[in-house]
Symmetry: none
DNA sequence: AGCATCTGCTTGGTATACTTAGCACACACT
DNA sequence: AGTGTGTGCTAAGTATACCAAGCAGATGCT
């Protein structure tokens, strides 16, 4: 069950994202063309996005967020992209995660470190 | 001014994103087909993403992140989509810090891990 | 009246994200 | 010698994100 991903255009969450963008735009007293100009997208496209016809790509979302002085996180969570279904495991916060993400380590080095770490914590 | 967004395919940051995904995939001992299956994308596409030929859309990134048991935030920041300009740095989990605060490790074990970690990252 | 100049929207096209079918090689097993 | 299954990759197509040009109504100006 877990995972019914929906990647059709213009369904559900994307629609409300459009409403969100529209309300934020109006709140900032910007016309579509003005916002589109700042966010470097075309105004017809913005129109379609606001009505939920298309789901904008992440960098477009980021541009729009910046143009509206919103954080990208806010935008993504409105878009349902930060959905912390599996995301909120900072509680886990673990050594393994830190190792995996460290850009200074090679894959082999990561494997070695994790193996050692697991051997250390094997009985707990 | 000078908001020079770059939306060309396969440049700079996207390339390193591919490397990141690849290393995470190998770290999880998954083949391309296995990861693609879990993330619900096709394996040739995953191949191209890993080599930086295309920049995957946000929901694909999220799928991949979930499949790799990573948070979506981690993925997005690797993709350069979340500038962490505002100093909320749970993204900066240092490995050493994570080791130091891990309650399951003894002091000796922590010292060993940190020593190994430092030897790995000595030249960077 | 006419002509600007806003507003958001539609049409038609291009670029690129993404898929299905299949190739080429490597390592098992009979 | 096969034959089967694993790996990643190429080729060719479809779907969709995105853009440039232009339309219709509302407002304002002379």
């Amino acid at each position: 069950m877990s995972d019914d991903e929906e990647r059709t255009p213009a369904s559900g969450a994307w629609r409300s994202l459009g409403d969100f963008i529209k309300s934020q735009r109006e709140l900032a007293n910007l016309s579509m063309r003005q916002l589109a100009e700042i966010a470097k997208i075309s105004n017809p496209y913005l129109s379609q996005v606001e009505r939920g016809l298309y789901k904008p790509s992440a960098d477009v979302l980021k541009s729009i967020a910046n143009a509206l002085h919103l954080s990208a996180e806010t935008m993504y969570s409105q878009a349902g992209l930060l959905d912390n279904s599996a995301g909120r495991d900072e509680s886990h916060h673990g050594v393994e995660h830190a190792i995996k993400v460290d850009p200074r380590l090679s894959t082999d080095q990561k494997e070695s470190l994790i193996r050692i770490y697991r051997s250390f914590t094997a009985g707990s």
